[in-house]
């Protein structure tokens, strides 16, 4: 039963093996993005200290973070039972904070709250303050059956008999009135939410649903305290709830009695065995359907809440803003997590340089502007990709001169194939002014964005950064803005990871009347030319030419080789600033420069072309768009 995901040995090291089992359940549920998402995970992090292993996690529909830490194991009736404390750290702005204890609420507003959560295993009080329930994981010593259970109160309530006064503006105010609640936390629903995701993950890993279920409720208690005494008293409206699931063929009843304790009188009990109808209270839980996720290729995915369409990200940004740099980071990040990205690019210029920079399957659509020439082609490119691969993400990288608004019709046309995720626009913090004042399309790109990356922040002054921020905020007040250097931004900050974002960015936020207009784009007088270079060029001559360029040349990129260093170099030029670096694949044969400028043809093209080794491409792209 276990062998696909657990190879530990419960007989030799009980504490170690039961933690190893939880680790295996948690970790293996993260591998496949669609399954991970469908199971309800929204992020997981291992917290290791020398003493115990713990985890922090986010799950669907909860803004806060859950903390799990091992709390010991015992051996009984042929079972090894591990107990794990579950804590819930609500987000600082979450309404749930009001129902935490005052002390926990105070903690949640500390500036270092998030790092306290990350390191909660180093602060025992964090576990106690935010404790919400206990999880039990048990494995029989034959390793043939598994038990997963939880224990929680419908509410954790503490009453401050004498109330609590806190100093405020020189006087004292009642934070809790006498006899009021210090804490009244809805523990059961929070604990159950996490238990559901964990149990679904166990079903998923075992590839089978539980065959045994129990729920037993006992009368609950609340705590009443003052400065002298603390008492537990019966609370008529609070219940203690224990739930357990059994997998495989084990003596679950005996195990459960151990956990529930003898001599207590329950209020009620639900008991279910594999052949009965599932109790209605539990019929909707994911742990019944999760086993099918492993064979989801053949299943009705909609019924399981799986959207098979990969998310589509539109990546825009004006010429030279740093789209490719961002894409490189994005791809590496996903690759390290074993995810597969398909990139669709359309480059201005005859040669798709960016395709050569990326170790990825790249389908380059017709060159030229997406909005002008893509009609029908995006769908074809997507169909081709989807029939050959199952990418986890698809990125459509538009040319720097494209207006993303013109893509929206196309996106609607491919909604059956992909799930539109967001439009991310990379903005060049250094050359923003120039772009905005000369090119309406640069404005449109910012306007269309759900996410704005203000890039090259390392090259801009503080004052100009602030100004740039203001400018883009004026154009687009709704988008998330991130400051980046060299396009380096953790992709999960912006893409897909969370439902909250999905809700916010469900579709491009523009109305239909705007759609009918063909938005302005490259007809701002931009042109593009490709210069082919045969052999190597003189470094000094080349660089002095480059330095003499006027502002009418906006962007150059390509591959050159100098007489003094016979290796292909990547040349990147944006508005007066340039960079030379070794081209990653030394075997590349092409030597070329793609030049984009505005207005009258600059002399550089002719100057470069007049050097014997450089020939001007015959098919000049005066239209560039």
């Amino acid at each position: 039963m276990l062998q696909n995901f657990f190879q530990g040995d419960i007989r030799t090291d009980e504490d170690g093996a039961i933690q190893e089992l939880l680790r295996a359940i948690l970790v293996r549920a993260q591998f496949v993005p669609a399954a991970r998402h469908a199971l309800g995970w929204r992020g997981l992090r291992q917290s290791v200290t020398t003493a115990v292993e713990g985890w922090t996690a986010r799950i669907e529909e909860y803004d806060g973070v859950f903390g799990i830490c091992f709390n010991g194991s015992k051996k009984e009736n042929g079972w090894v039972i591990g107990a794990f404390n579950l804590s819930y750290f609500p987000a600082a702005d979450e309404a749930m904070v009001e129902r935490c204890s005052l002390r926990a609420a105070a903690c949640s507003q500390r500036p270092d709250y998030m790092s306290l959560i990350r390191d909660f295993l180093q602060h025992e009080e964090m576990v106690s303050l935010f404790y919400t329930g206990t999880l039990f994981l048990a494995l029989d010593t034959r390793q043939k059956s598994l038990y997963l259970g939880m224990q929680s109160l419908t509410a954790q309530r503490t009453i401050a008999r004498k109330g609590i006064k806190l100093p405020h503006n020189g006087s004292e105010i009642w934070a809790v009135n006498p006899g009021g609640y210090d804490q009244n936390f809805p523990s059961l629903s929070v604990t159950q939410a996490f238990f559901n995701v964990l149990a679904a993950s166990l079903s998923f890993n075992l590839e089978q649903p539980p065959g045994w279920l129990i729920e037993r409720r006992f009368p609950g208690i609340e705590i009443i305290y003052d400065d002298k005494t603390t008492q537990n008293i019966p609370a008529p409206d609070i219940e203690e709830v224990l739930t357990g699931l059994g997998y495989g063929d084990g003596r679950f009843d005996a195990l459960f009695e151990t956990l529930a304790g003898t001599g207590r009188v329950p209020i009620r009990e639900i008991r279910w065995l594999g052949k009965d109808a599932i109790p209605p209270e539990y019929s909707e839980r994911k742990w019944w359907t999760a086993p099918h996720l492993t064979t989801w290729k053949t299943l009705n995915k909609k019924g399981l809440g799986i959207d098979e369409r990969p998310p589509l990200i539109i990546l825009t940004g004006f010429l030279g803003a740093g789209k490719t740099s961002f894409l490189q980071h994005f791809i590496e990040y996903q690759t390290q997590r074993s995810r597969f990205i398909a990139v669709i690019q359309n480059e201005i210029g005859n040669i798709g340089l960016d395709g050569k920079l990326l170790d990825y399957k790249v389908t380059e659509i017709d060159e030229g502007c997406v909005c002008c020439s893509l009609a029908g082609n995006l769908k074809r490119a997507l169909q081709e990709i989807l029939s050959n691969f199952q990418p986890d993400f698809i990125v459509l990288e538009t040319t720097g001169a494209a207006n993303p608004f013109n893509l929206l019709d196309e996106i609607r046309d491919v909604e059956d194939l992909v799930r539109y995720d967001c439009t991310a626009t990379v903005v060049d913090a250094v050359n923003l002014d120039h772009a905005l004042s000369n090119f309406q399309v640069a404005v449109e790109q910012i306007k269309a964005a759900d996410v704005l990356l203000l890039n090259k922040c390392d090259l801009a002054t503080e004052a100009s950064l602030q100004k740039a921020c203001k400018q883009i905020r004026n154009i687009n007040p709704k988008a998330m803005v991130f400051m980046t250097e060299r396009g380096d931004l953790n992709p999960s900050l912006i893409f897909d990871v969370d439902d909250r974002w999905a809700k916010k960015y469900i579709s491009p936020d523009i109305n239909d009347s705007e759609l009918s207009v063909h938005h302005s784009h490259i007809h701002d007088g931009l042109w593009c030319k490709t210069l082919y270079i045969t052999g190597s060029v003189n470094r000094d001559e080349f660089l002095s030419l480059v330095k003499s360029l006027t502002s009418s040349i906006f962007r150059i990129k390509g591959i050159v080789e100098f007489e003094d260093t016979p290796r292909p170099m990547l040349f990147q030029y944006v508005a007066g600033r340039f960079e030379l670096s070794l081209f990653p694949s030394p075997d590349i044969q092409e030597r070329f420069l793609t030049v984009i400028g505005q207005g009258k043809d600059s002399d550089i093209v002719n100057d470069l072309a007049s050097k014997g080794s450089i020939t001007l491409d015959r098919t000049e792209l005066n239209k560039a768009g």
């Binding site: 295993l121 953790n490 990871v497």
Partner: protein, 392 residues
């Protein structure tokens, strides 16, 4: 403060308090109490400080870190074969191709085509499998030579992993002289980090030159892997390294198996710790699937090492195998910054941009030469060497 009918808002109150005059004093002055529902108790675990001895120096030669040549090919194969949870032996990759196509293979059917050729006729075996397998040209492999010098000056050589492609690995072995070292019994043990295709499937290339070599494998190897060790012609001593326990091999040199599920149905990864005199602990890893933090914390918990210093690290550094819940947090900083590693040689699954970030942040990354199909000098690439306690 909240204007909600004079309701006391805890969030508003403490938000102000945290930044204003009150600071954290309300808590400290005991102005209000709280009664914990459950007092957490963390067992006090003492560092075990196991003495694994000490060595004079460790030298690592990167035989190959290029596990595959095209990531796009690899990932699309995995995807099309059923995904990351699927048993790797079913992919129909070399050397276990049986001609039935992607995702339809099995160990038994694959090995049947080449078993008679292992380990002595690998050229022919590879020719056979090239025809029957999916994406045979994409196979590369990961392997490293580790040279440990005892305080007495006595030297030991170990081989970490065998790579994947028979062809590529044989070339790589010859390039670094590993074939001769194996033949001459200079390499005293072969250490298998984990069962992944790119680390493990090239084992016949090792056994071709020395079938009697002592071999350490991690607990968690699946039955196919154990059978492959036999079918590939291994005749020597076979030692299982148990999870969660140090496995000392020579003074100052031990391995440790981390029990963790890994993609493509693999379980557990064995890594190496070396305690270098006057320098500190050196960690050598295949992929570090368990994460660099656990690697470092385990070292701290288990081992006594020189100067209490985590000194060096070599190999593929999986920073985080899955998605963190807080993307704003930069694992890079805590993982390598926090532990204060003084010499880093990284490659394989680290990510070139990630390696470049280490360099940008001023971490002591030893650069490579980007030869023999290694992608970038930020990696300690194929044919490059790194020394700990010794200059190379």
């Amino acid at each position: 403060m909240s204007e909600d009918k004079g309701q006391f808002s805890r969030r508003d109150f403490f938000k102000g308090a945290a930044m204003g005059v009150l600071g954290g004093t309300a808590l400290g002055m005991g102005l209000f109490s709280y009664s914990p529902w459950r007092k957490a108790y963390f067992p006090e675990v003492k560092r075990k400080m196991v003495d694994i001895g000490v060595c004079k120096s460790v030298k690592v030669t990167n035989i190959s870190e290029t596990s595959w040549f095209k990531n796009a090919v690899l990932m699309s194969d995995i995807k099309a074969a059923g995904g990351l949870l699927v048993n790797q032996y079913t992919y129909n990759w070399p050397p276990f191709g049986d001609g039935t196509g992607l995702g339809k293979g099995s160990y038994e059917n694959g090995i049947a085509k080449i078993k008679h050729l292992l380990p002595n006729n690998l050229e022919e075996a590879w020719r056979v499998t090239e025809k029957l397998s999916v994406s045979p040209d994409n196979a590369g492999g990961f392997a490293a030579l580790i040279e440990v010098e005892e305080m007495s000056g006595r030297k030991h050589k170990f081989l970490l992993d065998s790579g994947w492609s028979y062809k590529w690995m044989d070339e790589s072995f010859k390039r670094e002289g590993i074939d001769q070292m194996l033949r001459n019994n200079e390499i005293e043990a072969f250490i298998i980090s984990h069962e992944h295709f790119d680390h493990f499937w090239g084992i016949p290339v090792v056994f071709k030159y020395n079938p009697n070599i002592t071999t350490y494998y991690p607990q968690g190897l699946y039955p196919e892997g154990l059978q492959y060790l036999k079918d590939a012609g291994h005749k020597g001593k076979l030692i299982q390294v148990k999870s969660g326990a140090l496995n000392p091999i020579v003074p100052g040199f031990a391995t440790y198996n981390f029990p963790v599920p890994i993609i493509c149905r693999v379980y557990g990864e064995q890594s190496i710790y070396a305690n270098v005199k006057d320098h500190g602990l050196v960690s050598i890893t295949g992929c570090c699937h368990f994460g660099i933090i656990q690697f470092s914390e385990t070292a701290f918990r288990e081992i006594a090492y020189e100067k209490n210093q985590l000194y060096g690290i070599y190999g593929g550094l999986h920073i985080s195998p899955f998605e963190d819940w807080d993307p704003k947090y930069d694992d890079l900083v805590i993982s390598l910054g926090k532990y204060g590693y003084q010499k880093i040689g990284c490659n394989h699954c680290t990510g070139v941009l990630c390696a470049k970030k280490f360099i940008e942040r001023g971490y002591p990354v030893q650069k490579g030469t980007a030869r023999f199909r290694s992608p970038d000098p930020a990696y300690l690439g194929n044919g490059d060497k790194i020394g700990f306690g010794i200059e190379v």
